[in-house]
C-alpha cells in the first residue's frame, strides 16, 4: 500500500517535470525560432546601398537611409528629455521620498504608466504636443510622446540600481561633510551607473521600435531628404515596415524583412551591450 503511494508520487513527479520542462523549452524554442526566422528572411535584403540610399518606387526599391536617420534622431531627442527626467525621478524615489502614502501613490503611478497602451500615448501626444502645444507633427512632438512612454522604464531601473548601493557609502560621504545632493551626485549615482545605463538603453531601445505613438505625431510614409530640425517630420523604421505591408501593393519582401532585421538587430545589440557592460562592471565593484 505504502509502496504504491510512493510509486505514484514518483510517476506524477516525472510526468509534471516533463510537461513543465516542455513548456519552458517551447518558450525558449519560440524565441530561438524568431531570431533565426527574422535573420533568414532579412539577410537577402541587406546591402550597403540598402542602408545608404533613399527609398524609390514607393519603397519597393532603394534603401531605408531616411528611416534609419529619422529613428536615430527621434531616439536621441527622446533620450535628451527622458534620461534626465527619468534618472532624477528614480533619485527622488530612492533617496528623497518620505515613507508615506504619497510615495506609494507615485510608485503605483510609475507602474501604471508602463501599462498604458502605446496607442493611448499616441492620442495623448496628438492632443497635447501636436495640437495644444502647437508643435505640429514633428520630431519634437513624437519625442515628447515617446519620452512619456520611456519614463517609467528609466525611473524604475534607476530606483532599483540606487537601492542596491550600500548605505555605508552614503554614510561615509555624509560623515566627510558632503551635502546630501553632493553625496547623491558624486557617490551614489556613479556607483549605480551600470544599472541605470542598462535601464536607459532598454527604455530607448523600446522607444526605437514603437510605431503606435508616432503614427499621428510626426512619422511620414516617405521623405526624400533628411529631417532638418526638431520641427521637421520624419521617416522611422517601424513605421516604414507598417506602411509597406499595409499600403503598398506588391511590397518588396526582401527590403521589408531587411528593415525588420536592421531594427531588431540594433535594438537587441544595444540591449546586449548594456547587459554585458553591466555584468563586467558588477564583477569589478563588489560589496
Amino acid at each position: 500500500m505504502r509502496l504504491t503511494r510512493v510509486k505514484r508520487a514518483r510517476a506524477a513527479e516525472a510526468v509534471a517535470r516533463a510537461i513543465l520542462g516542455a513548456s519552458a523549452l517551447l518558450v525558449v524554442a519560440a524565441a530561438a525560432f524568431l531570431v533565426l526566422y527574422i535573420a533568414k528572411k532579412g539577410l537577402p535584403g541587406l546591402s550597403w546601398e540598402f542602408l545608404t540610399e533613399v527609398p524609390k518606387n514607393r519603397g519597393r526599391e532603394g534603401g531605408i537611409y531616411p528611416a534609419l536617420v529619422g529613428t536615430l534622431y527621434v531616439v536621441a531627442c527622446t533620450g535628451l528629455f527622458a534620461v534626465p527626467l527619468g534618472v532624477l525621478g528614480g533619485v527622488y524615489l530612492s533617496e528623497y521620498a518620505p515613507k508615506k502614502r504619497s510615495t506609494r501613490i507615485i510608485r503605483l503611478a510609475v507602474a501604471n504608466m508602463a501599462g498604458v497602451p502605446s496607442i493611448v500615448y499616441g492620442l495623448f501626444g496628438l492632443a497635447a504636443f501636436v495640437l495644444a502645444a502647437g508643435f505640429g507633427r514633428s520630431i519634437i512632438a513624437a519625442s515628447l510622446t515617446l519620452t512619456c512612454m520611456t519614463l517609467p522604464v528609466i525611473v524604475t531601473a534607476t530606483e532599483e540600481a540606487l537601492r542596491q548601493v550600500p548605505a555605508d557609502l552614503r554614510h561615509a560621504a555624509l560623515a566627510l561633510g558632503a551635502s546630501k545632493i553632493r553625496t547623491v551626485l558624486s557617490v551614489v549615482l556613479p556607483a549605480a551607473a551600470p544599472g541605470i545605463v542598462t535601464g536607459v538603453v532598454l527604455g530607448l531601445a523600446r522607444a526605437a521600435g514603437e510605431t503606435a505613438p508616432i503614427l499621428f505625431t510626426g512619422a511620414v510614409f516617405q521623405m526624400r531628404r533628411l529631417p532638418d530640425g526638431l520641427g521637421s517630420q520624419f521617416m522611422a523604421l517601424p513605421y516604414h515596415i507598417y506602411t509597406q505591408v499595409t499600403s503598398v501593393p506588391n511590397w518588396n519582401r526582401d527590403l521589408v524583412w531587411g528593415t525588420a532585421l536592421v531594427l531588431v538587430a540594433s535594438v537587441s545589440a544595444a540591449s546586449a551591450a548594456a547587459a554585458i557592460w553591466r555584468s563586467a562592471r558588477r564583477r569589478r565593484i563588489s560589496w
Binding site: R17, P98, R170, I181, G209, A212, V245
Partner: protein, 309 residues
C-alpha cells in the same frame, strides 16, 4: 534609505548660505520630477476626457459603448463601438488561451526545477522576446500565422481574430513568464524545505505549497498579460483584417479598439465628431487598462509585503 540619512544633521554644521540654497533648489527640483509620473497620468486622462467631450455630448457614452453599428464616415456617422470592444475582448481571450498555460508552466519549471544555467539563458531569451517591436511580430504573423490559419480552416482570408490572438499570445508570454516567476521566486524557501522535509516530492511541494503561496502574484501576472494584450496595437492591426462588424466566430475578421484608433485617426477632421469619438474609444481603453494594471500592482504590492521583500 531616507530614514537612515539626515541631511539636516550636516546643515547645522555651518554650511554657507549658497550651498544651502543650492541644496534646497536641488531637492525641490528632484521632488518635482518625482511627481512627474502622477502629472503625466493625470494629463493623459485630462486630454482624453477634454477631446471626448464633443462626442459624449452628441452621442452619449452609453450609446457609443452599446451601439453595434460603426459607420463613422457615413452621414450622419454611426458611432457604435460595441463591435470594437467585443473585437478587443475576443482577441485578448485567444491570446490568454495561448499564453497562460504555456507561460505559467514555463515559469513554474524555471523557478522550481531548472538549474541556474538554464534559468539565466531563459531570462535573456525572454528579455529578447519582450524587446522585439510589435510591428515585427505583426510582420512575422503576416508571413506565417495568416497563411497557416487560412490553410488550416480553408478560409478566403487568414486575417482573423484567431491569427491576431495567436500572435498576441506569443507577445504576452514574456510578461506572464517573468512576473509569475518573480512571484514564485519570492516564496521563502523555508516553506519548500518544510514541505520536502515532510516527505513531499518536489512536484507535490510545488502544487501544494509554492504555487498556492504565490497565487496572488501569478494572478497579477495574468492580469498584466491581459492589460498588454488589450493595449497592443500594431500586430492586431496587421493581422485581424479590421472589419468593424460584430464578430460571430474566431475565424472572422475583427477590429479592435486600438486598431480602430490607429487606422482612422489619420483621416479624420481634427475637432470633428469622428475625431472626438476616437478619443472616447481611447478613454475606454485607458480606463480598462488603468484599472487592470492598478489591480495587478496592488496585488503584487500586497504579496511583496507578505513575504517581507
Amino acid at each position: 534609505m531616507t530614514d537612515t540619512l539626515r541631511p539636516s544633521d550636516s546643515r547645522s554644521r555651518g554650511r554657507t548660505a549658497l550651498s544651502r540654497a543650492a541644496e534646497t533648489f536641488a531637492k525641490g527640483f528632484i521632488t518635482a520630477t518625482g511627481w512627474l509620473a502622477i502629472v503625466v497620468l493625470a494629463a493623459i486622462a485630462a486630454f482624453l476626457v477634454w477631446n471626448s467631450l464633443r462626442a459624449l455630448g452628441e452621442a452619449g457614452l452609453g450609446r457609443i459603448v452599446t451601439g453595434t453599428d460603426w459607420y463613422p464616415t457615413s452621414s450622419p456617422g454611426k458611432f457604435g463601438a460595441a463591435p470594437l470592444i467585443v473585437g478587443s475582448l475576443i482577441v485578448t481571450l485567444v491570446a490568454l488561451v495561448v499564453a497562460v498555460p504555456v507561460g505559467l508552466a514555463a515559469a513554474v519549471y524555471l523557478s522550481e526545477f531548472a538549474g541556474r544555467r538554464l534559468k539565466e539563458v531563459s531570462k535573456a531569451v525572454i528579455e529578447f522576446m519582450a524587446a522585439i517591436p510589435s510591428v515585427v511580430y505583426g510582420l512575422v504573423g503576416v508571413a506565417l500565422v495568416v497563411p497557416a490559419v487560412k490553410r488550416a480552416f480553408a478560409l478566403d482570408s487568414g486575417l482573423t481574430a484567431l491569427s491576431g490572438g495567436i500572435v498576441l499570445g506569443v507577445m504576452a508570454l514574456p510578461t506572464i513568464v517573468s512576473i509569475s516567476e518573480d512571484a514564485l521566486h519570492a516564496v521563502p524557501s523555508s516553506l519548500r524545505h518544510a514541505s520536502l522535509a515532510l516527505g513531499n516530492t518536489r512536484w507535490q511541494t510545488t502544487y501544494k505549497v509554492t504555487v498556492p503561496a504565490a497565487s496572488s502574484g501569478i494572478f497579477a501576472a495574468v492580469m498584466l498579460g491581459v492589460g498588454r494584450a488589450i493595449g497592443e496595437t500594431m500586430a492586431v492591426l496587421m493581422l485581424t483584417g479590421n472589419a468593424a462588424v460584430m464578430p460571430r466566430s474566431l475565424l472572422e475578421s475583427v477590429r479592435t479598439m486600438t486598431g480602430t484608433i490607429a487606422a482612422e485617426m489619420g483621416e479624420v477632421v481634427q475637432g470633428g465628431t469622428h475625431y472626438s469619438v476616437l478619443f472616447v474609444v481611447g478613454l475606454v481603453l485607458f480606463a480598462a487598462t488603468f484599472s487592470i494594471n492598478l489591480a495587478a500592482d496592488l496585488v503584487l504590492e500586497k504579496q511583496r509585503k507578505r513575504w517581507g521583500v
